[in-house]
């Protein structure tokens, strides 16, 4: 019973949209239809010079109807084209010319053929399109599931540590020395900060929306975004020195500043956490032709050569193979970075510097129109 009810409700809800899916109207489709029919007419007129009998006319129009049904969306234009063609062939290209005469032998057959061709093609086209839609939906669903799995996995470890630390402190407060307590609390704080980072990245993903490229770009001063990211970085890692460089001329870059700040913060933190031996980080932005080129370089241990090719899709791969020596990798952070830069119509790459350390660069287009 419940199933039926649900289905009914669903039918009710989808009815209007189903109608508009089967008979959608768009100017583009109208133009396609008009052009194709026009071409068919021209072709018939030209061919009549060679062969005045006009027998080919209906064949050409069947072809035209087929093409229109295939190229337009839904059933609307296919059906219109078949009716127009039938009348057109009758009126212009069959004897008596420039007059309608439906009593010609075999005429109902022409009409039927065109109608059937149009309906079948429209059905097939619509089905193919729906399948494509389903396929991309499925892929998105899969990415989402992978993301969830990898994030839950990443969250469980620090949570375990935080719960462990706090309950140890609560239960054994009197047995622990002052320095031990401090060490435990520092661990818990670091883990919590790591969790915050994960959540910030997840928020960035939701901010970008589920459809890509739905970001709001506004011209922002690159130096301001850099300065802010650097200030927050200095607060979190006071021991690491950071040098920031921006061009003398003010560089305005169209971007979602919050998201780009997230990218820079991720790269800066990665430089410290995954660089391991990092003591200084260089952050810079340059005017580079039609792009703004952002660069984060460190003097750490660099990126292991074997990780370079899969660096940016690490998050999706990770769930299959256990991460290297059980360490959390930079998967989520970098994947988010790349997604954000792509949504801005930019590119991102990573390399090891010849003088040691890793270098991440990303470019953002300076023109507002460029889209991913």
């Amino acid at each position: 019973m419940k199933v039926f009810l649900d289905k009914d409700v669903e039918d009710l809800l989808t009815k209007p949209s189903r109608f508009s899916r089967i008979f959608p109207f768009s100017i583009q489709d109208l133009l396609v239809t008009a052009c194709t029919l026009f071409c068919a007419v021209e072709l018939c007129i030209l061919l009549r010079i060679v062969d005045p009998s006009g027998e080919f006319a209906s064949l050409i129009f069947v072809l035209a109807v087929f093409l229109i049904s295939r190229l337009t969306h839904g059933y609307l234009f296919g059906l219109i084209a078949s009716v127009v063609s039938v009348v057109g062939v009758n009126y212009i290209f069959t004897y008596p010319y420039l007059a309608l005469n439906f009593s010609i032998a075999g005429y109902p057959l022409t009409f039927l053929t065109m109608l059937v061709v149009s309906i079948i093609t429209c059905t097939m086209t619509t089905q193919i399109k729906e399948q494509e839609h389903l396929k991309t939906e499925n892929e998105k669903e899969k990415t989402r599931a992978n993301l969830l799995r990898s994030v839950s996995h990443d969250i469980r470890t620090p949570l375990t540590s935080i719960v462990g630390v706090t309950s140890t402190l609560l239960e054994n407060a009197d047995k622990l020395g002052q320095s031990e307590k401090r060490q435990l609390l520092e661990d818990a704080r670091d883990e919590a900060q790591w969790l915050i980072r994960v959540v910030e990245n997840l928020l960035s993903i939701t901010r970008m929306g589920n459809e890509q490229a739905e970001i709001e770009k506004k011209p922002e001063a690159a130096e301001e975004v850099l300065g802010e990211a650097a200030r927050k970085f200095r607060k979190r890692f006071p021991a690491i020195s950071i040098a920031v460089q921006a061009p003398d001329n003010l560089l305005m870059v169209p971007m979602d500043a919050i998201l780009i700040e997230q990218v820079i913060s991720n790269l800066l933190e990665n430089a410290v956490i995954h660089g391991e031996t990092t003591t200084q980080v260089r952050l810079s932005v340059q005017h580079d032709g039609k792009n703004a080129r952002f660069c984060v370089a460190d003097d750490g241990r660099g990126i292991p050569e074997k990780d370079l090719p899969t660096l940016f899709n690490g998050m999706l791969k990770r769930s299959d193979t256990e991460s290297i020596d059980g360490k959390r990798n930079m998967g989520l952070g970098l994947t988010v970075c790349k997604a954000i830069v792509h949504a801005h119509g930019g590119t991102m790459e990573a390399r090891n510097c010849p003088e040691g350390g890793a270098e991440f660069t990303f470019k953002l287009p300076l023109s507002v129109e460029a889209k991913a």
Binding site: E224, R231, V244, D248
Partner: protein
């Protein structure tokens, strides 16, 4: 006996309210807690706090509505705490009259700095007390001389244009507080200037090139991305 400033913490999450209250208590403030909007409103009028820390996501009403209602009759300083990350939420709160904002998660030092600034600004009615007394605002090597209309860095006049000086002067007057782009534009170029903040950005870039050692690592004027600017505080 020292009179302690009274702070009302309006926050429905018990753990966060507890954390904020204990930080403030250990730093010499007196606190009360209100877990929802209606209780907060009655406590504001009965307990008369010196400052309200207001969470925007309350169970019974929107924190912004409390702020709106409060601003019709009082200029009591309000620091908004919000888990919302979209910058226009912060801008809305600030434009509605909040004195400052904290985004969850925030640290204790950040909390204390915001509280200190907000309380100081109400004690001296027209922004900064130092300016009212001496006509001068100083932070590190930067001196804003309101009488002579000039800005000195390490004793040297940096020759700002008139609009540049007005921006710096305004930020200095509200040092420690974030001023939204809209607020700055309205104050500087009037209500009909529109909300194109391009001209503000360009002016700011020029100011930074004159007063900061490295404009990309500002020491005096900070950017709150998507929200506005904040002048560093002296002392």
């Amino acid at each position: 006996m020292k009179i302690r400033e009274k702070i009302l913490v309006v926050e429905d999450e018990k753990s966060i309210a507890h954390f904020i209250a204990s930080v403030l208590n250990t730093n010499g403030y007196e606190t009360m807690q209100a877990p929802n909007g209606s209780q907060a409103q009655s406590m504001i009028s009965s307990w008369c706090p010196d400052l309200v820390i207001l969470d925007l996501g309350l169970p019974d009403m929107d924190g912004l509505d409390i702020l709106r209602a409060l601003r019709t009759w009082s200029s009591l300083p309000v620091v908004v705490v919000s888990a919302r990350t979209h910058e226009h939420d912060k801008v809305d709160a600030l434009d509605l009259g909040a004195d400052d904002y904290l985004t969850k998660p925030f640290g204790t030092d950040e909390l204390l700095a915001r509280v200190r600034t907000a309380i100081r600004h109400t004690r001296t009615s027209s922004g900064n007390g130092e300016i009212a007394r001496t006509g001068i605002y100083t932070v590190d090597d930067l001196v804003i001389d309101y009488n002579k209309h000039q800005v000195l860095v390490r004793g040297e006049n940096v020759h700002l244009t008139l609009s540049e000086f007005r921006i710096v002067a305004l930020l200095g007057k509200y040092a420690g507080k974030v001023l939204t782009y809209d607020f700055l534009i309205r104050e500087l170029w009037g209500p009909r200037a529109g909300n194109d903040n391009q001209i503000l950005r360009v002016n700011m870039a020029n100011i930074r090139r004159k007063i900061e050692e490295n404009p990309a690592e500002p020491h005096y004027i900070f950017t709150e991305v998507g929200v506005g600017y904040r002048m560093a505080e002296g002392e």
